[in-house]
């Protein structure tokens, strides 16, 4: 069997002194350090790597660059690994993919026999009659889905990210890219040179006639060129933002200019059984021999349409293989240097011949050659040639993926030979084979020209159009390497198992647009994304529809340029948790924490055992004594400037122009449709300075919206989000004044000196604070804001000061209950995506006389049209123990008439209370309504006036 290791000088990448052992399925094999999984497997004599997607045909290495399904293996926990991209390591474990039983004897290979019954889109044609049939068939078809198998116990692994910057990024370090990098760096520009191979040099290292990359490599490492090898440029996004994957690291690089020198993809020859293991691109043969010292076959046939193919034949001979024949698709080939040499070496040259059929089951054994008479046509002359390797060098397609990511649309190059770039995106150059300059000389000169242009562009000069060599694609690319066979199985797309007939039938069925052919047949949808199939498909469309290739058009390539791991994109993940300054104290007190946006807040204290009891105790302590709650997560905004009051007047619904310094006032924000989006209080600290709070979850949006509005309005105002700079504690309960008096340095806390809604600045326990008399929970209370760094100190001081009274912290749950008793809404819970202030019974918070505020027009319209629903307080009968859940529905006459937004059992009041939306005409106190709770039970509730607790506000005002 084939697969022989060669001696030096072949195998420039491998270290023969370091053999490595690995497993392929059940077999233990060996390779060398420097091998890829692909080279190691072929070097160890493995020819079948996987089974194909649809027919489960045996597949071997076809290309080492195209990332096609043929070379997908399972590598450890990684499914669908491209064998060439997996470095060989000691003890590595590889497996084939997509088979049942064994890779050699795949039970599903029977699918191949059914090929004639499975036209493109066959699943659209059947399985749906009679009704319900699909439910029977679908699981059976679904079982065949997929290639690799994901290990659901697989490790997360470590991935991270790095950031880079350069003046010029060059992608591809082949002849064009190296030349471009050197030219770009000539005046000292910062250049990053990115190449996916372990070493730079590209085709120069593997193609016969390559000059060797060593001098360039030396230069490349000098000066200002930063070389990244083993680095896959996965995407080129707006403003030259490059994603480069290197091992487990994603580099994100911003480049002033980008030179794309990504070369070209060698194309298959489309003929019967062109997918047999042992048939591969000529570049793959060269690469195996030169870089890895692997001879992929003993007896080879080369099919070519250019002089490079003859070079590969010479490589094979030099490496010890027999080249049985070189078939040249061209009827009268030009005599190039390699062809002359091949003839001199005595290799049989067959001009005007093509490979017409491959034979052999799991491995190529014989190839039938046929005489070519014209485009895709052959005569009756046949030659059967024994061989275990067929090297194909008939055409190339430029790799234009990165340009497509930036919006370039590829075109056909006009000669019918290949694709070419459409108009280049801003700041990007294209050089070498990717730009249709294939020969070493043309590619190098092209790289120099495009690199020099990039240098001039970053230097800021008006870059003259570079003088570039002429495209030479016609020398390398045959216009029709497609040979239909009466018995079919000529694969256009190896990924998706699609043949010439499949494409033609798709078109015949009416799907004539190139995009529709693709979508209907799935050509080009597989792992290689059409690297091998796009051009052939478009040629077949042009032929079948009588259009030019230009009219057919070229399909685009979407990111990523190569499949990229989820882990690589995710990196280490960034899931910040925000903790308040008093966090440790909460933990010490046994707080059960709950998320509030990015923050963690105590839901209640005392551990998770008896939540209801803890909440009730905390609430009772506030009602009867004194409690404190950490409200540091409240949004906080500083609004300063001559227009500060005028700005608030426009942003919020209430009136602020005449608000006295030293007073706070409720703020309610609506959007342009009059929908409530946030609330809080505004404290007037000075004529031109307001300190405004916002909800924990809303502050970022409020801040962003304020900035946006002010960008529109251009008022004299400065807006700062100082949420993180201030800690805040709400001290609440009838004993709160007494506690605060012990630590408030010289502040007059008397009801007259510091009345309800007043704001003071002063010191508490020596800490500079802003104090607000507010009443969210409905008791005498103080919201004390201090610099974040002193939050814990302030907390400790208040706890200490209240020790005598039995002060205790309370959590969010108790606060929710207390505020409900007081009838205060929580924006987002008691409001939804359409709630306006009138529905929420907050007409009092709207200053109707103002000329303008955001939402005024809409609220006015709603007001005139009349309300359809209203948020009301309700109570259940005293004996009712069931508590409706938030969002249980209000049902009236069998219809949905509203919903509960908040509900709780109130210990202070002795029954269940809540807030609910009900129809506006049924919103009057005393009106009964029904709530449907779990299991469909109906509870009778009654509308009651708000607030439930302390309706005259005597407690909070005291």
């Amino acid at each position: 069997m084939s697969g022989t290791r060669l001696a030096a000088p072949f195998g420039s990448l491998i270290d023969r002194t370091r053999p490595l052992h690995f497993r392929f399925g059940a077999r233990t094999l060996s390779g060398f350090a420097g091998d890829s999984a692909a080279s190691a497997l072929v070097g160890a004599g493995i020819s079948v790597l996987s089974r194909s997607f649809k027919y489960h045909r045996p597949r071997g290495l076809f290309s080492m660059t195209a990332a096609d399904a043929n070379s997908l293996i399972a590598a450890g926990a990684e499914p669908n690994a491209f064998a060439e991209h997996v470095p060989l390591t000691e003890g590595a474990s590889f497996r084939g993919q997509n088979y049942a039983g064994s890779l050699e004897r795949d039970r599903f290979a029977l699918m191949g026999l059914f090929g004639r019954f499975l036209p493109p889109g066959f699943y659209y044609r059947a399985f749906y009659r009679p009704a319900g049939a699909w439910k029977f068939w679908e699981p059976k078809i679904r079982a065949f889905a997929g290639l690799g198998t994901v290990d659901t116990n697989g490790p997360h692994g470590y991935f991270d990210k790095a950031y880079g910057w350069c003046e010029v990024a060059v992608v591809g370090a082949g002849p064009a890219g190296l030349a471009a990098a050197l030219a770009a760096a000539e005046d000292g520009a910062e250049v990053i040179l990115i190449d996916r191979n372990p070493v730079i040099g590209g085709s120069m290292r593997q193609r016969r006639g390559g000059v060797g990359a060593e001098p360039l490599e030396r230069n490349g490492k000098a000066g200002t060129i930063h070389v990244m090898t083993g680095a896959h440029c996965l995407g080129l996004y707006d403003d030259n933002w490059l994603a480069v994957g290197q091992g487990k690291r994603l580099h994100k690089i911003r480049a002033g200019r980008v030179v794309v020198a990504t070369g070209a993809e060698e194309q298959p020859l489309v003929f019967r059984n062109n997918d047999r293991p042992g048939i591969m691109t000529a570049d793959t043969v060269s690469r195996l021999i030169r870089l890895y010292g692997v001879l992929p076959g003993r007896r080879a046939v080369v099919v070519t349409a250019n002089d490079q193919g003859y070079g590969v034949a010479l490589d094979l001979v030099e490496a010890g293989a027999v080249v049985a024949a070189i078939a040249d698709l061209r009827l009268a080939p030009d005599d190039g240097p390699f062809r002359r040499e091949a003839r001199a070496a005595g290799i049989e040259l067959l001009d005007g011949w093509t490979a017409y059929e491959g034979h052999g089951r799991a491995r190529l054994g014989v190839v039938t050659l046929a005489g070519v008479t014209g485009r895709g046509r052959v005569d009756d002359s046949r030659r059967r040639v024994d061989c275990d390797l067929l090297a194909v060098s008939v055409a190339q397609v430029p790799r234009l993926h990165l340009l497509c990511h930036r919006g370039m649309r590829p075109v056909h190059d006009g000669s019918g030979h290949s694709f070419a770039s459409g108009e280049l995106p801003e700041g990007v150059g294209l050089a070498g084979a990717a730009a249709g300059r294939y020969s070493l000389d043309a590619a190098t000169r092209d790289g120099l020209a495009v690199g020099a242009a990039a240098r001039q562009a970053v230097a800021g000069g008006a870059a003259p159009e570079p003088e570039r060599p002429a495209p030479d694609g016609a020398l390398f690319n045959h216009p029709w390497p497609i040979f239909p066979h009466p018995r079919g199985k000529e694969f256009v797309d190896l990924d998706e198992d699609l043949t010439i007939a499949d494409i033609r039938n798709t078109i015949a069925e009416g799907w004539r647009h190139a995009e529709l052919v693709k979508r209907f047949s799935t050509v080009g949808m597989g792992p290689s994304q059409g690297r091998h199939s796009a051009l052939a498909t478009q040629r077949l469309i042009a032929e079948a529809t009588g259009q030019t290739l230009d009219a057919v058009g070229a399909t685009t390539w979407r990111p990523p340029a190569l499949p990229e791991k989820f882990g690589l994109l995710a990196g280490r993940g960034f899931e910040p948790v925000r903790r308040t300054a008093m966090h440790d104290r909460h933990v010490e007190a046994g707080a059960v924490l709950m998320p509030a946006g990015l923050w963690l807040r105590p839901a209640h204290y005392g551990g998770s055992g008896d939540a209801a009891g803890a909440i009730a105790r905390e609430a009772a302590n506030v009602r009867g004594n004194v409690g404190l709650i950490d409200v540091s997560t409240l949004g906080k905004l500083e609004i300063r400037g001559a227009d500060a009051a005028a700005f608030l007047e426009r942003v919020y619904t209430f009136a602020y122009a005449k608000q006295p310094v030293g007073k706070s006032r409720y703020v309610l924000m609506t959007d342009r449709l009059g929908i409530i989006v946030d609330d809080g209080v505004a404290c007037r600290m000075a004529d031109n300075h307001f300190y405004v709070t916002a909800t924990t979850g809303g502050v970022d949006g409020v801040y962003r919206e304020m900035l946006r509005l002010n960008a529109e309005w251009r008022m004299r105002v400065d807006i700062a989000n100082v949420t993180a700079a201030w800690a805040a504690i709400n001290l609440a309960g009838p004993n709160s004044r007494r506690v605060l008096e012990r630590v408030a340095d010289g502040l007059d806390l008397s009801p007259a000196g510091f009345p309800y809604l007043a704001v003071r600045e002063g010191h508490v326990a020596g800490i500079p604070c802003r104090l607000l008399r507010v009443g969210f929970v409905g008791e005498l209370g103080y919201e004390i804001h201090c610099p974040s760094g002193l939050g814990e100190t302030l907390w400790d001081a208040l706890v200490e000061a209240g020790r005598e009274e039995g002060i205790a912290p309370f959590g969010v749950e108790a606060q929710r209950l207390l505020r409900l008793e007081k009838g205060h809404i929580i924006v987002g819970q008691d409001t939804d995506g359409t709630t306006n202030p009138l529905e929420a019974d907050m007409a009092w918070a709207i200053a109707r006389k103002k000329d303008f505020f955001v939402g005024k027009h809409a609220i006015g319209l709603r007001s005139r049209a009349g309300l359809t629903r209203k948020l009301v307080g309700f109570r259940l009968p005293a004996g009712e123990s069931r508590v409706p859940k938030e969002c249980h529905l209000v049902i009236r006459d069998g219809q949905v008439a509203g919903r509960v937004t908040s509900a709780a059992r109130s210990a202070s009041l002795g029954h269940v209370i809540g807030l609910a939306y009900v129809p506006a005409e049924h919103a009057a106190p005393g009106v009964p309504f029904d709530i449907r709770v779990d299991q469909g039970a109906m509870l009778r509730a009654e509308v009651v006036p708000l607030p439930f607790y302390d309706p005259d506000n005597e407690r909070q005002d005291s």
Partner: protein, 413 residues
Amino acid sequence: MPFALLKYGLRRRYRPVPDLPPEPDLKKRYDVVIIGGGGHGLATAYYLATVHGIRDVAVLEKGYLAGGNTARNTAIIRSNYLTPEGVAFYDESVRLFQGLSEEFDFNILYSERGHLTLAHTDAAIRTARWRAEVNKHLGVASEVIYPDEIARLAPNLNLSRDVRHPVLGALYHEPGAIARHDAVAWGYATGAARRGVSILQKTEVTGIVKDGDRAIGVETNRGRIEAGQIVQQVAGASTLLADMAGFRLPIRTVPLQACVSLPVKPFLDPIIVSGSLHVYISQTPRGELVMGGASDPYPLYGTRSTLDFKEGLMANMLELFPFLAEMKILRQWAGMTDMSPDFSPIMGETPIRNYWLDSGWGTWGFKATPVVGKRMAETVATGTVPELIRPFRLARFDDIELLGDKGAASVGH
């Protein structure tokens, strides 16, 4: 093996019956001109021809058939909306979907996989309950379920409490389904074209011809076309077309991106959505994971892809499925979504007579394709807006009669 495939395989030489007849020549006038050859436009044409016998219809598509958002969406079908109007509407859509394969004689690969909207916060549980209660009331199967039950439906999902955003519960919508999005549009296109509807690709509308406040035709890159009635069904280009017609829409066009992985053997049955983590994911019959996230954070008329979309999405994906780190994204893309202020669509009359509107579909237009087609066809054919879609009128923004389906849009807005 199904008979249709046997027939195909045993025939000596395959003579395909074209699904789609060759494109007809452009005429000077049609009774109805539909702007936009996506799923909605094609479905409207189909029902005009089949239900109302109106066959002198042209569907004008600037690109290729169903190549816009129809080709770019993630093909999820569900009716677990929040408002009674929304639920009733989508419920009709789901029922139509269920019969389409037979009706078309073309399998749209409709697959009921079950749909889980994960809740990671109290607020999300609240919304889930709201949706479940409204759905159940209207006879749509939705339930709030908790981690034990979630684990049974999606055994691979990370339900650990020890993560940044633990799963507290989920809204489970058993009829939630996926379908082959292209096949839906192709089925409508084929059915319409066979009945005489002209589907004209690469035909771009460049202006609306009016006589006073009445639309009488369109200008295109292929010349002027007269029309008795015009229907605008162009998703992300809605505002641009409305501008041409001379009225304004309260719509922002925002890109929405999605991506697909390399195919793997099936491991995920239900459709998983997480609003808090901005993720939705399903596994297709090919074995690919189709994944999407939040809309882009800014309006744009464009379909470029971004890196940060994938970075954010994948970080969240690995929160839910930590073992997917070695999976690979094969392809990403973007569509242009037309977002209305209340996250509900806009259908029916416009200030221009004989000019009908179907837009504001944002991120959920695919799942409404059949019902929109049917009801817009009814609208055009009868000249009256049917009850079912009347709540979605454009004028509701003038008098602020908003619909509140914001909470039911799957993820991030």
